[in-house]
Amino acid sequence: MSSGLLFAIVGCLLFVFGLGGVILLDHLLRRILAFNLMGSGTFLVLVGLAQRDGTPDPVPQAMVLTGIVVAVAATALALALARRLHTGASNPPPPANPTCRDDRHA
């Protein structure tokens, strides 16, 4: 078995675990982590499947880099929403002139 295929199979497994986690878990933070696991699995498949005869292919590597940026942005948004949900309805909308003051207290 080539290393590329091994990467792809592990990636498939990670994707399935992650997908199961996002759908089945209750805890919000765990779901967000599961989504990241799903993404990592996909990236492994991208890099693994494209490795023909042991020579790396630069195009999927560039895609993975872009994918990581997107995943980080999505995770940040999910965490911000989870935090807002956690602090509840009493949390006022962001102030008119945002300073990061309320982060420092948190």
């Binding site: 996002v22 759908i23 699995g41 945002p98």
Partner: protein
């Protein structure tokens, strides 16, 4: 090269990013004028591109001059041009409305987020590369979730989080499909793929097709994957609901249609039964969505469930593609008519709710006297949703029924007609109340609201009805569709 510098293809993506950043800088609640001016320019670009395509056929542009394997090809054909014009036109009308709606300073980050939303959607219509399509899909999803959460209320945050999770699962499945396609074919450029995929198809591509289709159906909220849509569209501020219901769900549908007709056409030809799945789910969506709209307590929930039902129609076209151009014409016309009608309906509802200070369907009693123009816009949009002649909704249904009958699929025609009848039940439920003067209240007088809030709704609703009379230019564009 001056030609490249003023290429509308590029500016349709650059302009919204530019105004998103410009409106972000002065702080929350600012930037309406910049956005509106820029949307006017974008509409100009889209119209110029459309004229170009009608005259000379499909256009391509290599971003940065890099050829396909490494660079990102941008491509525009008739279908993309039609969606672009629809998006910019509805966007402009909603922006004019939003400027008055958010006078109270509650817009917060509405303008920058909307800018990114338009950049994402325009990029999605123009990308000719599966991976870049993923990035635009994600950009649309994140901006849309941000818009839902923008109000800052707890229930909006909950709806946004549910929407975000659905959106991430959808695009995650899509990206896994892209990885498999790259592994099997070594390219993600749409025009290369169309020629490369042929029988016998490797199992990896079948899996890729299944994952990408499932992810996009989740993002398009096809029954039973619609669970995230009613709270997200029903709880957001009215201009946001209008953008989400009219445009955002159409973007993922467009991509689904593109894949179906383009790279995966060979898989569909090998297994024609596949076309039944979206159509069966679509019929269920038409019936279930209409039923839930009839039972809805809140006006915006009624409209959101109506979106679930109307999205179902879009998927009825898949089994009848054999019947020539009719199916595609019906699909595009329905997407356009529904886009304009639903935007009109949501912003009209926003005015009705704000003036009546009551968001329940029962609270609409007597609004006919208070807001005649807005209610007329609501009713006119309803005419198109029900499919009464001569509206765009009517012509779309007519073409669909024609295509269904000529390919012997009687049940599709039955679903289309039943859906129209059910739609008339939930529309007339609102109109019936609107004309009743509630007991114990004095005679209701017209209430002053900004003209922009009333007339934008009426304009969009009129456009939706007018599409039935002037659909020929739209169909001329479809003759310029590449696969």
């Amino acid at each position: 090269m001056p030609d490249d510098l003023f290429d509308p293809l590029v500016w349709l993506i650059l302009l919204p990013i530019l105004w998103a950043v410009l409106t972000f800088l002065p702080g929350p609640g600012r930037g309406a004028v910049v956005a509106i001016v820029s949307l006017c320019l974008q509409l100009g670009c889209a119209v110029r591109l459309t004229a170009d395509i009608i005259a000379h056929g499909a256009r391509t542009h290599l971003a940065g001059g890099w050829p396909a394997p490494l660079g990102i090809p941008l491509a525009a054909d008739g279908l993309a041009a039609a969606m672009l014009v629809l998006t910019q036109a509805v966007g402009l009308a909603v922006a004019l409305y939003a400027r008055s709606y958010f006078r109270d300073g509650s817009s917060l980050w509405f303008w920058p987020l909307t800018g990114f939303l338009f950049a994402g959607m325009n990029g999605l219509f123009l990308s000719g590369d599966l991976f870049n399509l993923y990035v635009t899909l994600e950009l649309v999803g994140l901006a849309a979730v941000g818009l839902v959460a923008n109000g800052g209320k707890a229930e909006q945050a909950a709806a946004a989080l549910r929407y975000l999770m659905a959106s991430l699962i959808g695009s995650g499945a899509y990206l896994f499909g892209v990885a498999l396609v790259y592994g099997a074919c070594g390219t993600v450029a749409l025009d290369h793929l169309a020629g490369m995929i042929s029988a016998p198809v490797p199992p990896a591509l079948w899996l890729a097709f299944a994952l990408m289709a499932a992810g996009l159906l989740l993002k398009t909220a096809l029954f039973p994957l619609h669970y995230w849509l009613p709270p997200a569209h029903g709880d957001a501020p009215a201009p946001v609901s209008a953008l989400l219901s009219a445009l955002v769900v159409k973007a993922s549908f467009y991509l689904f249609l593109r894949l179906w007709l383009g790279p995966f056409a060979c898989l569909v030809a090998l297994a024609p039964m596949l076309a039944w799945l979206p159509a069966l789910l679509g019929s269920a969506a038409v019936l279930y969505g209409s039923w839930m709209a009839i039972r809805a307590e809140r006006l915006k929930m009624l409209i959101a469930y109506s979106t679930v039902a109307q999205l179902g129609y879009l998927f009825l076209i898949f089994p009848v593609f054999g019947g020539g151009a009719l199916a595609l014409q019906a699909g595009l016309l329905h997407a356009t008519a529904h886009g304009t009608a639903k935007a009109a309906m949501f912003i009209a509802a926003g005015t009705l709710i704000r003036v009546g200070e009551n968001d329940s369907v029962r609270g609409m009693a007597g609004v006919a006297n208070q807001l005649p123009v807005t209610l007329f816009a609501f009713a006119l949009a309803g005419v198109s949703l029900m499919g009464l002649p001569p509206s765009g909704g009517f012509l779309a249904k007519w073409l669909l029924i024609d295509a269904a009958l000529s390919s012997g699929q009687l049940w599709i025609a039955v679903v289309a007609i039943t859906g129209g009848l059910l739609a008339s039940v939930y529309i007339f439920r609102v109109l019936h109340l609107a004309f009743r003067v509630p007991d114990g209240r004095e005679e209701l007088r017209p209430r002053p609201v900004p003209a922009a809030m009333e007339w934008t709704a009426l304009l969009l609703a009129t456009a939706s009805v007018g599409l039935g009379l002037f659909a020929m230019p739209l169909f001329a564009l479809l003759e310029r569709v590449g696969t």
